[in-house]
Structures are given as C-alpha cells and as structure tokens.
Symmetry: C2
C-alpha cells in the first residue's frame, strides 16, 4: 500500500531536480519509500534485500523508466571493468573479431568500449579516447602504428595487439600461425591430386615472408619442389588479378593457386572467370582469412580460417592476464582449413 502519494512534481528547488530525462536512484528510492542504498542493492542484485521489497523496487524502477547511470557506476567501483577496442571500420574481419570480443569479455564480467579507426580518424585519436574512458586494457586490431608508439602507450595501460606482426616485448600479441596455415593449404591441394600449385604472395606485407617460406618448404617436402611458382602479389583484388594474369601466360599454367588473402583470391577468381576458366573444374583457387568475402554465397571460397573466435578469446585472455599484473606474452593461434567450393580434384 503506498500512501497518498506525496509525489508532487516539485521542481521548484534551485537544485537540478529539473531533468528532462533520466530519473536517479534517489528518485526511485523516494517513490518506493525506501533508502537509496537499498535501491542500489536491488539494482545490482546484491544480497541484503527481501524478495518482496526487491520486486516492488524493480517494478517501480521500471515504471519510472529508471536506468542505472553507467558512468557513475564505473566511477565508483575503482576498477572500470572496461576493455577498449581500437578497430578499423572498413575491415570485415575486424568486425568478426569485435563481435567475438564482446562475447569473451562478457564471460569475464567485462564491458567493451569501441573506438573506430578510419581514414579521417587516426589511431592516436582512437586510443586516446579509450584511455580517457579509463579502460583497464586496450585491444588494438591490425594497428598500423609503429611498434614504439604502442610501446609508449603500453607504459600507461596494458595493450594487446591482434593480427599484426610486430616485435614489442611490452605488448601482448595474438596472431595466427602463418606457416601452419600455408602448410595446410598446400597439403589440402596436394591431397586432392594437384601438383602444379602456384602461390600469389603478399609482397612485403606482414606475414608474407613466413607464408612464402612455408609454401616452398611444404612443396619440397611433398616432392613438388620442381613445381614451386611464387608470384609477387599483394593485399588487394588488383594485386590478385595481376598475379593471375601473369600465371596464365605460363607455358604450362598451374592447376591450383593459393592467394595471399581472400581479397587477393577474389581478384584471381575474377580474372579466371573472365578468361573462361571454370572454377573449380579447370582451376582451384584458395584464399586466406575466411573473411566475409570468402563466405559470399555465390563465391564459397575454400580458404584458411584465422578463426575470429579464437583470436578474440586469446586477446581477452591476454588482456585479463596483464590487468592482473602478469607479464605480456605472445599467443599463436592455429588456423583451420575451411573447404568450400573453389577447390576440387584437377580435371
């Protein structure tokens, strides 16, 4: 039974009772006829309130449209339980990883703050804004910044770098195993019966050297050393298209091609299609990353998965480790072969 409600809207006081939006915890307490801390107890589901009171407070809070103020909450509990992510808006793969980080962080009771990197918004801006929000750790995806820049930031807050090769002992590092990835690709094609397997590489891109070396080594090991064929490619569709065009001028063209990444493979795919080659009947093509590009319905590209879920989980684990004072370390995530429809036995 609530009393004849003294709920008069008296915003006469000079104090800030005049809020257009957002009732406060005190307002709910007054309306429910209890003390403010009790409302706090109910809202964060802490022990110390009876079930009846709990339900009543929750009902009233809901009626008033009360929502706890996250800033005040984070301010009070000295640990913000916040992990900051700097990511690139235009990288589909980053989107995958961010999504998984949300999940992994939530499991550990952490919240996530996003800060975008884009052509008109550089990394220092993004990182700075995350520090201002007092994130306990930063996860940076594919950061283009120099290693020493990140090192300087790491002096103030734990930093984990994902999917980017760099030497920086003060940073947590998560990356895929490039050597294993290309080994799996070659072995997959070889097991289908391919012998003339070419590689359009990533030029001087990070990881390209490892993948190139692994390609050569695996070809040798499988007794295909004489068929080693490495073409300089790059990160983009245009690079892949150029590489594919060059491969098609060979006296005896390859029956299978491993591109540096999915974008590069898409370019190669396009040139093959325009030349009248059927994929995979006449030519098998593989990508790398398992980005959305590879999963497009009418493409269905066979590729090597970097497994966003594992990368994200490893990144969050490293972040938590460093928050708890452990030294930064490196985690190498094993890639996974994803067989779709652009590879087949050679015709």
């Amino acid at each position: 039974m609530s009393r004849p409600d003294s709920d008069a809207p008296q915003d006469v006081t000079a104090k800030g009772v005049q809020r257009g939006r957002g009732p406060t915890m005190g307002d709910v307490a007054k309306a429910a006829g209890v003390s403010r801390p009790l409302v706090s107890i109910v809202m964060r589901e802490a022990p110390g309130a009876s079930i009846a009171t709990r339900e009543r407070v929750l009902r009233i809070a809901n009626e008033m449209g009360y929502v706890p103020d996250e800033r005040a909450r984070k301010l009070r509990q000295n640990s913000s339980r916040l992990i900051g992510i700097a990511f690139e808006l235009q990288q589909p793969f980053h989107g995958d990883v961010v999504e998984q980080i949300y999940l992994a962080a939530a499991e550990s009771g952490y919240d996530v703050a996003l800060s975008a990197v884009a052509p008109t918004r550089d990394e220092p801006t993004a990182v700075e804004s995350l520090i201002r929000e007092r994130c306990e750790a930063l996860i940076v995806l594919g950061m283009k910044a120099q290693a020493d820049d990140l090192q300087r930031i790491a002096e103030r807050v734990p930093v984990v770098s994902v999917a980017r090769r760099l030497k920086a002992p003060a940073l947590g590092i998560v990356r895929g195993d490039d050597k294993a990835g290309l080994r799996m690709a070659v072995e997959h094609l070889a097991s289908l019966g391919h012998q003339r397997i070419a590689h359009i590489d990533g030029a001087d891109a990070p990881g390209s050297a490892d993948r190139r070396a692994s390609y050569r080594k695996t070809m040798q090991r499988l007794g295909l050393g004489d068929n080693i064929d490495v073409i300089t490619g790059g990160l983009t569709e245009a690079d892949g298209a150029r590489g594919m065009s060059e491969l098609l001028t060979r006296p005896v063209p390859p029956t299978a091609v491993i591109a540096f990444n999915d974008r590069c493979a898409t370019g190669a795919l396009d040139v093959a299609a325009r030349t009248g080659l059927r994929v995979p009947a006449n030519l098998s093509i593989m990508g790398y990353d398992d980005s959305r590009l590879a999963r497009v319905p009418h493409v269905q590209m066979t590729t090597v998965s970097q497994d966003a879920r594992e990368l994200a989980r490893a990144a969050v684990d490293l972040a938590l480790e460093q928050i708890h004072g452990q030294a930064p370390r490196e985690i190498i995530v094993q890639p996974r072969l994803v067989v779709r429809e652009t590879t087949q036995r050679p015709g």
Copy 2:
C-alpha cells in the same frame, strides 16, 4: 579454461594514493604546488589562470602522464554531450556513415559512443548499453527492430533512424530518395543509348517498391515502356546471380541492368562474367549504395551514391534538434550518380 577471477587484492593502501595506473587531478595539483580546481581550470582551458602557471601545470601533467577521466567529467557536467550510435559491424556502408558521424558530431562539440549490432548481439542490447551511458540522443543505422520498439525507446531519449524506411512520428528519420535514385540510373543508361534496360529489384526489401515504381515511370516517360522488365531479386549476391541468369534466358536479353544494390549487382556481374559476357562492352550493369563493394579496384562499378557524408550530417542535425526540444522530422537526402566503369554505350 579461463577462471572467473576471484579478483586478487593488489591495492594495499586504503587511500587511492598509490594506484598502478592513472594519476588524478589532485596528484597533479600536489606535484605542481597548486590547488586541485586550478588544475581543472588549466585542463579545460577556462579563464582564471596566469599563462606561467598554465604552462607549468600542463608540463607537469604531461610528465606524470595525466589524462582527465572522461567518466567523472561527463558525470559532473549534467549534459553528457554524447551521441550514441547503434550500427552493424558487417555493413560496409554503416562504417562509412559512422566515420562521417564522428566528424559531424565533433564539429558540434559532441562525442560519440559506439555500440555494435551483430548476430550474437541484438539491437535491444546495443541500445540499452547506450542509454546506460546517458547518451543525449541515439542514431540507429538500418535497425531491423519494429517501429513501435523504437517508438518506446524514443519516449526516453531522442532517436534518429538512418537508411531505413519506417513510419514512426516520434522518430527523426533520414533516408535517401529512392525514387530520384532510380530515375537517375535509368536516365544515365538511356542517355548512353540503351533501350532494353532491365531491373533486378529488391523483392519486399524496404525501398524496393519505390525504386520499382520509379523505374517503371521513368521508362514510360522516356518512351521505353515496351521494354520494361522487372525481375524479382533481393539484397544478396545470390539474388543478383539468380536474377541475371533469368534475364539471360530472354529471347532478346537486355543491354543494361539496374540491380537493387551493389551486392546484388556483384552477383549479376559474376554471372555475366562466367557466361562470357564482357562488362561493359556487351552489357552495362549498375548497382546502388556506392558501398565499398562498388569501389573495389577491379570492379569499379557505376552506382547510385547514398552519400554517407550527407546522411551522417543530416542525422546529427536531427539529433541536435531533438536534444534542443524540437519535434522530430524527416530528412530525405538526394542521391548522386557515380559513373565508373561498368556502364558504356551499347555495343
């Protein structure tokens, strides 16, 4: 594997004098030998401090690595000057708009809070987290939620919906002019000399009806009424591929095709290439949206631009209007024709 950490106590001192990370305003004040409020004055560049003191405080703050706590700042000044954005991680076009919103908001002195929508993170979750951070307004991109859900949210905080057709008087709405867009597309192709111009539509997607009607009307107006050819398509590459395959079975196939969007056009492009048709020599193809897909180097698709910059600016304008108490309204942004390399005079 990961333990739900039992949170080891690492902070020994009861007072927050010794925190591993993050010196406070008081620490800076003590180090500089001034009062705390004076540091506040210096940090926000308010009048009331001599130039000499200002420089000294700034220098010391910098040496200590002091960064103002955004949460405390936003908490104190009752207006958070924060605009929340709910966007989809996997939509390239959303990325473009978000980037531009950053810029537009900054011009008005507003900060931006990002909240992602993804398969494992639904819209209510994303929106709720933004409200908890006390954003003064919300901008939702391509929200799939029902109009009445958004209406309910709009009772608590101003909401602007972007690039999504819906009837909701309580919401600010920003969208492109679909009719004008398709008119421009048809006129472009007609001016090149095309007569048999087909349209792969978006089925029951939002905006599809308007575009379809505009296509018919414009064809009529240009005296091409007899060549009207609408195929049911959809939003994805597969839909475009299916539509294109169907068009190629026509006794007299079209010389130009307008797809519902860039993804749909990409599917059509792919089928054309596999069939041996040269684009644009034998067939012109147009997309819609001017997403990154259309700008891919080896594609270079002619398309209709939704102009992320204008959409973003309009959205921020509407948000600010509603924050200042004005009634929500609708802004229709005129699209722009982007001629690239998939259209040409009919051969």
